[in-house]
């Protein structure tokens, strides 16, 4: 998208210049946003309007601006972004610009380029020849890369809150507390997931081990079977508990189906060992060693499983990435096309994911701890719903809602 800011002054209301300019923008395929307007109070008072004009191509913008100039529009000259070469691999120049998760454009040689992906806490590397601007992490930057410094020539476009109530993510936008009713909002979320599935959206679930330990795994399996999950982000522990439950009926020694404790911690290690012996989860499924559970369902229904490791992990299970830099690269890549994310009972993973989410990704966060929900939701202020609740009743109700039609 290419854009310029224009200003109109004079008797632009009585002369119908303002409506004419807005009509011309639309009839020439552009869009506008009136950022400021002052209407003269007395007859001789002049009026003022500042309008952001945008078009799909740079040529269309040039042509449109030429027309608008004839109507008295003055173009506000915007400076190009300043760039400085990165001094060394993995080091940004001082004063480097740090991205937010809002849609961002940088002006290079008078042209606006969108920064991709639209992720938070990155620097911006500009390739003038290719006319690209990338959000880069420390591990991306190479000595000599052109990195944007300062704030000049940068335009941030916040996500607009819609005025209609068609999108639950934009009108609810609040955290639903532990003592508040949740059925209505879970119905809305179910409806949104249905819409996303039929519209070709990509739904990711970020799952914490509490899902397995509370016995909510079966509901997640129902979502997987219903094709509501395209990608499953989780950790070694989650996979291990799930496999343990599938193989031994316990997770970390607890059987959620009965009140009395049986077995012990050794079940988890035996489960991990079984998967290691089989050569991975997928092979364990194919060889019918692993016959149930979330991992099993994911393999059976082609859910893309992304396993990220952590200190203290037993094993790990084959397929878990343990190098943290490698993990970041994988997260960025695997979140690029995601449209919806459901963060379930995992604060640490939720925050890591948040660092790679574009601002237009719709997010649901469920956690029993309000602080965890707050921290996850604040990253996506206009696109997120937080629910403070045990994950088991949430998943049960969601699965029931999605099964009804």
């Amino acid at each position: 998208m290419f854009s310029e800011t224009i200003e109109l002054r004079g008797h632009i209301i009585d002369s119908l210049i303002l409506p004419k300019v807005l009509d011309q923008i639309l009839t020439h395929g552009g869009n506008f946003k009136i950022t400021e307007v002052q209407i003269g109070r007395k007859r001789a008072d002049q009026s003022f309007a500042r309008i952001e004009v945008s078009t799909e191509t740079g040529e269309a913008l040039d042509e449109l601006i030429l027309r608008l100039r004839q109507q008295g529009a003055e173009v506000i000259e915007r400076a190009n972004a300043q760039v400085v070469a990165a001094p060394a691999d993995g080091v940004f120049p001082s004063e480097f610009y740090v991205t937010t998760n809002q849609q961002t454009f940088v002006r290079v040689d008078g042209k606006e380029i969108e920064v991709t992906p639209g992720i938070i806490n990155s620097a911006i590397a500009v390739d003038q020849k290719k006319e690209t601007a990338r959000a880069v992490k420390f591990f991306d930057v190479k000595k000599g890369d052109a990195i944007v410094v300062g704030h000049q020539g940068i335009r941030v476009v916040p996500v607009q809150r819609t005025t209609t109530r068609t999108d639950p993510f934009q009108f609810i936008n609040n955290i639903v507390d532990a003592e508040e009713p949740k059925s209505a909002i879970i119905r809305e979320i179910a409806e949104e997931l249905r819409r996303a599935r039929s519209a070709g959206g990509k739904i990711a679930v970020v799952a914490g081990p509490a899902i397995v330990r509370t016995g909510a795994g079966g509901y997640l399996v129902r979502l997987i079977e219903g094709k509501y999950i395209d990608r499953l982000f989780t950790g070694n522990a989650f996979a291990a508990y799930d496999v343990e439950r599938a193989l031994f009926g316990t997770s970390l020694g607890l059987n959620p189906d009965v009140a009395i404790v049986r077995g012990g911690h050794e079940n988890q290690l035996r489960a991990i060992n079984t998967i290691r012996e089989a050569g991975g989860i997928a092979r364990a499924v194919h060889e019918k060693i692993l016959m149930s559970g979330i991992m099993h369902a994911s393999v059976q229904h082609d859910v893309d499983i992304v396993l990220i490791g952590a200190i203290g992990d037993e094993g790990p299970i084959p397929g878990v990435t343990t190098d943290v830099i490698e993990c970041e690269k994988i997260l960025r890549e695997k979140l690029r096309d995601v449209t919806h994310v459901i963060l379930l009972a995992t604060l640490r993973y939720s925050l890591a994911i948040g660092a790679f989410l574009a601002n237009n990704v719709k997010t649901v966060c469920v956690d029993i701890d309000r602080t965890a929900v707050e921290r996850a939701v604040e990253r996506q202020p206009l696109q997120s719903i937080g629910l403070v609740t045990d994950v088991e009743p949430f998943l049960r109700e969601l699965a029931d809602n999605l099964a009804t039609r």
Binding site: G10, H11, S15, A44, Q70, Q71, G72
Partner: protein
């Protein structure tokens, strides 16, 4: 006291500026009417101008500025500038062929005790040709000759409401070629010389507009001088004359053929001084 003088006093002695056509001729082409191949008949042009001068002299006080060699269009004094009260805003001509007229007009007005107030140089504005008052609203044309940006400056200088209207037919390149306000709040015009927004803006600010037929508009019928109930206009607009007479106006049709060859007629050959009194 003779009748003419009495009439002038009754009209509060409206004053006009004219320039004799001593050096008038088609020497360049800066509008679709002009063709070097189709020269104006000098003697006929002079006779037509004398008729105009004589007609106007009965209706108001006519002032003359000395014509200058090499400035054939100086005869079209409407483009000298815009006079309101004792303030004179000189034109900034778009075409270099006419730019040389500006200092002569400014000097003459200053010598006659008008306060000369200049527009920024980069803003094109062609005076009364593109700026006509309808009551207290100043209608200003733009695109072919004047820039819309100049309208804003004019509005600030005069502290009045300016309605900017876009001209879209190159044959009607100045506002006074297609629009003529009348003292009763109405006016006559050739609507298709304006874009739809200009048409709407004019309709919203004027009552009783007479639409001039295309064949009559082509005779420069809108290029008329209105002095109270008298209207001096080019020949060739019987329908318009009849409409104006119905509204109680006296019409004085004049032959203007030699000036129409340059894209001008009665109004282009005159500038009010002032067009209206200062705005409170």
């Amino acid at each position: 006291m003779n009748a003419v003088l009495q009439s002038k006093i009754q009209r509060r002695m409206r004053q006009m500026l004219l320039c004799p056509p001593d050096y008038y001729g088609i020497e360049y082409e800066i509008n679709p009417w002009m063709s070097i191949a189709q020269a104006a008949e000098v003697s006929v042009a002079q006779e037509q101008w004398k008729q105009l001068h004589a007609t106007l002299s009965k209706l108001c006080t006519v002032n003359l500025i000395a014509p200058q060699p090499g400035l054939p269009d100086m005869v079209f004094t409407a483009n000298a500038g815009l006079t309101v009260g004792r303030k004179f805003i000189p034109s900034n001509f778009r075409h270099k062929e006419r730019a040389g007229e500006q200092p002569f007009f400014a000097k003459w007005m200053a010598q006659h005790d008008y306060e000369v107030e200049w527009l920024p140089e980069k803003l094109y504005f062609e005076g009364e040709g593109d700026a006509l008052f309808g009551n207290d609203v100043l209608f200003c044309g733009y695109k072919f000759r004047s820039d819309i940006q100049s309208h804003r400056a004019i509005a600030e200088m005069l502290r009045c409401l300016v309605i900017s209207v876009e001209l879209v037919d190159p044959r009607f390149y100045h506002l006074d070629t297609c629009f003529c306000p009348l003292p009763d709040g109405g006016g006559f015009w050739f609507p298709s010389a304006f874009d739809e927004y200009g048409q709407r803006a004019i309709r919203e600010h004027m009552t009783d507009l007479i639409d001039v037929a295309p064949e009559e508009a082509m005779h420069f019928s809108c290029n008329a001088v209105v002095i109270d109930r008298d209207i001096v206009l080019p020949e060739g607009a019987p329908q318009l004359v009849s409409s104006l007479q119905e509204r109680g106006y006296r019409c004085h049709p004049l032959s203007m053929t030699e000036f129409i060859k340059a894209g001008g007629a009665c109004k282009c050959l005159t500038m009010f001084m002032p067009q209206r009194e200062a705005i409170d």
